[in-house]
């Protein structure tokens, strides 16, 4: 590399700036000493320190110096480039310098914050500064590329998050495709009876939004559909969607449901998934009266015609719109969109994974979602609380934190269970008059009017026992426990172990990532946190963005959250997508790789290595070709290329080697 080294007298004129960051940096690094040291390094024409370099005066100082001292390169030693690289690039541009003639040195996170010895930290800051000054000389003038953005948006998941995001985008005039895996939109919220803390009916506030989706001229609704494949990049995604057959033509069915009456099965006899298996349905069914679209479908597992081809098809005969099509096949659709909002929701914890509570063994044990259906007027019992054995419960125990805050299952707090348990306690008491016991670890009610709701429940005479329930058994120790389910719990307020006999146990199951969350995250090229929820770009400052540009997340697919937070997040995700689309273009970082064609030997080593599928092979020229729009600048290809014919902007050999030499000097 030495032959490439600029001669001492021809060195570009470098400006070096070091930031105190208040006391963040200055308390651990002798800023003045680093400033003085840098001023003596070859090529450095100006060296200054300042309390807040990112402030307006700090930036202005840099721009002014560039003009007055005819600076040709810029180095700023401050915080992480994640925070202020763009700020100083802009300052360089204001001074008339190409923004890529700039190198940032992170002496805060990499030095000041991680060391305890001021002398060594100062020495490390000097090393880092020297390395940056050595590398910046080799920087080239670069431009950001602009790529146009397709204005259409895809929203995946038709729960309240997806519904709200789709409506927001559509109301802003964007064309939206909303995809839902189930036969109807509505998600979990459609199963709920009332919502906390206001106790307004879930269907009454949700179904108008569902109808609005269906009627909106800007929304294409694809239910019973799943995303198969995602290709492309920010602003230009190509999405392949699989539409499962309903065996009923969606455009012809009007949802009169006469076919359901006409079905050869006179009685509904198959477990109804929407009602958590508590009710029954026929092979031809609709999930609930307000299902959207209001189109029936056939269950291929139970429909005689679909299973054997030997049914008299009285359903089809009853349909005067001729909507039935027993030969309907899976359909593949391709969409072109600029942005994607993922709102794929959550899965309720499988209560069988906590066997001490007897779910699946004792018929009197229910999950919270089952109770939502039991107390619902449109549920299997029309809102009457009846046990599986037909009796009415006189006492009900609600166990909080099942599959939450538990080292054996899930460690996280599911955030909504305390509140929905209060809501269910209220509804059970209202519908049945039973004594209701809540068994909680801590009562978490940190939302608007939530604590007040808890207070209201205390006043309603619901019993609250602080303690994690040890077990639910049918083991009676006393005559009044006979025939009951007994909850054994350490009452941590009273300080002794209690046994509470009840007729019905409700397990407040926690929220988990969807079973296929890992598959979905790979398909959309985003990340998952260790617990399996989708990973946001920044937990505080970019909560709906992902590490993949143009893909946003909303609702419980990111973490457990309640309806108000979900709706707020869905709105935020829609706004982020709008900001992307309305800019009309995206600017791409120029730190991409390119192939020096005459040096490429056509070995194809790089092609399979690229994690972003940005490299193709030109079979005519026998050369690798890199799509700079797809390239994320990870550098894998440049490092792997055996002939050294792949170069990466800002990571040229000269730049890297001089940086290493600078640091080792």
């Amino acid at each position: 590399m030495s032959e490439n080294k600029p001669k001492q007298e021809n060195l570009p004129r470098v400006g070096f700036y070091i930031c105190h960051c208040g006391s963040n940096i200055a308390s651990m690094i002798d800023v003045a000493e680093v400033q003085k040291y840098a001023s003596g390094l070859p090529g450095v024409a100006v060296s200054r320190d300042y309390k807040y370099m990112c402030s307006d005066p700090g930036q202005e100082m840099i721009a002014k110096d560039i003009r007055e001292h005819k600076l040709e390169r810029l180095v700023v030693a401050a915080c992480s480039p994640n925070l202020h690289e763009e700020t100083f690039r802009k300052a360089a541009a204001r001074g008339g310098l190409n923004p890529f003639y700039f190198q940032m040195v992170n002496i805060r996170e990499h030095a000041a914050w991680v060391h305890e010895d001021k002398k060594s930290a100062t020495e490390k800051a000097k090393d880092l500064a020297r390395a940056a000054i050595a590398r910046v000389r080799f920087h080239q003038a670069l431009d950001k590329k602009r790529v146009p953005v397709d204005p259409n948006v895809l929203v995946v998941g038709g729960g309240i998050a997806g519904i709200h995001a789709a409506l927001t985008l559509a109301n802003a005039g964007k064309k939206v495709t909303l995809i839902e895996r189930e036969a109807t939109i509505g998600g979990h919220m459609a199963m709920f009876d009332k919502t906390f803390p206001t106790l307004d009916c879930a269907a009454c506030i949700l179904t108008p939004k569902m109808s609005a989706v269906k009627a909106h001229p800007n929304i294409t609704l694809l239910t019973y559909s799943e995303v198969n494949k995602v290709e492309g990049y920010v602003g230009n995604y190509k999405v392949t969607v699989k539409r499962k057959p309903r065996y009923v033509k969606e455009d012809l069915c009007v949802g009169c449901m006469e076919c359901i009456d006409a079905c050869v099965f006179k009685e509904a006899k198959f477990p109804d998934k929407f009602n958590q298996g508590l009710g029954k349905r026929k092979p031809v069914y609709i999930d609930f009266p307000q299902a959207t679209p209001k189109v029936v479908l056939l269950d291929p597992e139970t429909c005689i015609e679909l299973k054997t081809g030997k049914c008299k098809k009285s359903c089809a005969a009853a349909c005067d719109r001729k909507a039935f099509d027993f030969n309907q096949k899976e359909e593949i659709k391709e969409l072109q969109v600029g942005a994607i909002v993922l709102a794929t929701g959550f899965k309720a914890f499988d209560a069988k994974r906590s066997p001490q509570y007897g779910y699946g063994r004792y018929p009197g044990v229910y999950t919270a979602l089952e109770i939502e259906r039991l107390v619902n007027a449109s549920g299997p019992t029309s809102g009457e609380i009846v046990l599986r054995d037909g009796k009415h419960p006189k006492a009900v125990g609600i166990i909080h934190c099942v599959g939450s805050r538990d080292a054996k299952t899930n460690k996280w707090c599911s955030r909504v269970c305390c509140m929905y348990s209060l809501k269910l306690a209220h509804l059970i008491k209202e519908h049945s008059g039973a004594e209701v016991y809540n068994f909680y670890i801590d009562m978490r009610a940190p939302g608007k009017a939530y604590e007040e709701f808890y207070d209201k429940l205390l006043g309603e005479g619901v019993h609250f026992i602080r303690g994690r329930v040890d077990e639910v058994t049918d083991w009676a120790m006393t005559p009044d426990e006979e025939g009951k389910l007994v909850l054994r719990v350490e009452d941590t307020l009273a300080g002794f172990v209690r046994r509470i006999p009840v007729d019905m146990v409700v397990l407040s199951t926690g929220l988990e990532p969807q079973a296929d969350a890992q598959e979905v995250r790979r398909r959309f090229n985003i990340g998952c946190g260790s617990e399996g929820f989708f990973q946001e770009r920044h937990p505080k400052l970019a909560p709906v963005n992902t590490f993949t540009d143009g893909i946003y997340i909303a609702g419980a697919c990111q973490a457990p959250r309640d309806i108000p937070d979900t709706v707020a997040q869905a709105g935020a995700a829609a706004a982020e997508a709008l900001a992307l689309i309305d800019a009309g273009f995206v600017e791409l970082e120029p730190n991409t790789s390119h192939v020096v064609e005459e040096e490429c030997c056509g070995c194809k080593s790089c092609v399979p290595l690229c994690p972003y599928s940005a490299i193709t092979f030109d079979e005519v020229k026998k050369k690798a070709v890199i799509n700079e729009v797809l390239c994320k600048g990870c550098g894998v290809c440049a490092a792997a290329c055996p002939s050294g014919s792949i170069r990466q902007n800002l990571f040229e050999d000269d730049e890297i080697f001089s940086e290493i030499q600078g640091i080792l000097k």
Partner: protein, 287 residues
């Protein structure tokens, strides 16, 4: 299939019926069992609370001998032995400082331990190595019409759930069904039998044992089936004392190896059936 066998003190003393039936059943199934040479006390749970390091070394000696003699799995039928040997295995694997001390102690006795031994419970071997389907082929006299309460006790599933669930273990339930008997549904499968409290604090220990036998009887079980010699001892041996303090229950407690042996047509005399204090004769007469 071949295994090493670590009897521990119980199977040579109060739990002789367990040893007899275990060896008879394994032999009849064609499973070769060789007793570990020169084995010593496992230390049980008591020594662990007196001097942990020495207790690891004591149990570690058995593992070292097993490793030296072969690469076979070690079967420990007694729950305390099973737990202590597993705990030692785990402790030596995860704690380098402890490992260093124990291996040094073993070296002084001319032994070494690399950590390769697998400690197994005979129930685990029967269900997971042999399998219910293969067992069914050996069942010649199914125990039709009999009802048993499966009782696992604490140590086999806690704190390590090595081969079954901690709250609701089911392997012995499968075995009871495999021998053609009915498995009583009861929630006390892993509730305390009284442990050593029957000796040290009888007013507590006897009550715990009483709860179990009473509930098993109440649910229609003809006998309790267990896999632990201490559980068997507490449930079977104190029924007179329980009768004088609470009420007479009279329910026999058998080992799972005994009911399997009976269903396989092995003679009662080889299975130690008559060793029980509460006679199983009346219950088994219905076969």
């Amino acid at each position: 299939m071949k295994y090493l066998y670590f009897p521990g003190c119980s199977l040579k003393g109060t739990g002789r019926a367990y040893e007899e039936s275990f060896l008879a059943v394994f032999k009849a199934l064609g499973l070769e069992v060789r007793e570990l040479e020169d084995w010593n006390c496992c230390g049980a749970t008591a020594y662990m609370s007196v001097d942990e390091t020495k207790s690891y070394a004591l149990a570690g000696r058995n593992l070292a001998i097993a490793e030296r003699s072969s690469d076979l799995d070690v079967i420990a039928p007694c729950s305390a032995c099973y737990l202590v040997l597993n705990k030692t295995q785990k402790g030596l694997k995860e704690n380098p400082e402890l490992r260093r001390k124990v291996v040094n102690a073993l070296k002084a006795a001319g032994l070494d331990y690399k950590g390769k031994v697998r400690v197994r419970h005979p129930l685990d071997v029967l269900i997971n190595d042999v399998g219910v389907e293969k067992l069914a082929k050996f069942i010649t006299k199914p125990l039709k019409g009999m009802k048993f309460a499966p009782y696992y006790g604490c140590q086999v599933v806690r704190p390590y759930s090595t081969f079954d669930d901690q709250y609701n273990p089911v392997t012995m339930d499968k075995l009871i069904e495999a021998v053609g008997a009915e498995c009583v549904s009861w929630p006390l499968k892993t509730r305390c039998c009284g442990g050593s409290l029957t000796g040290t604090l009888p007013e507590v220990g006897l009550r715990l044992a009483y709860i179990l036998i009473k509930e098993a009887k109440k649910r229609g079980a003809g006998a309790i089936v267990t896999l632990c010699p201490l559980c068997q001892f507490n449930l079977d041996g104190y029924q007179d004392k329980i009768a004088s303090k609470y009420e007479r229950v009279d329910i026999p407690t058998l080992y799972f190896t005994q009911i399997l042996g009976l269903a396989m047509g092995l003679p009662e005399s080889e299975l130690g059936i008559k060793r029980g204090i509460i006679s199983a004769e009346a219950v088994l007469a219905g076969r």
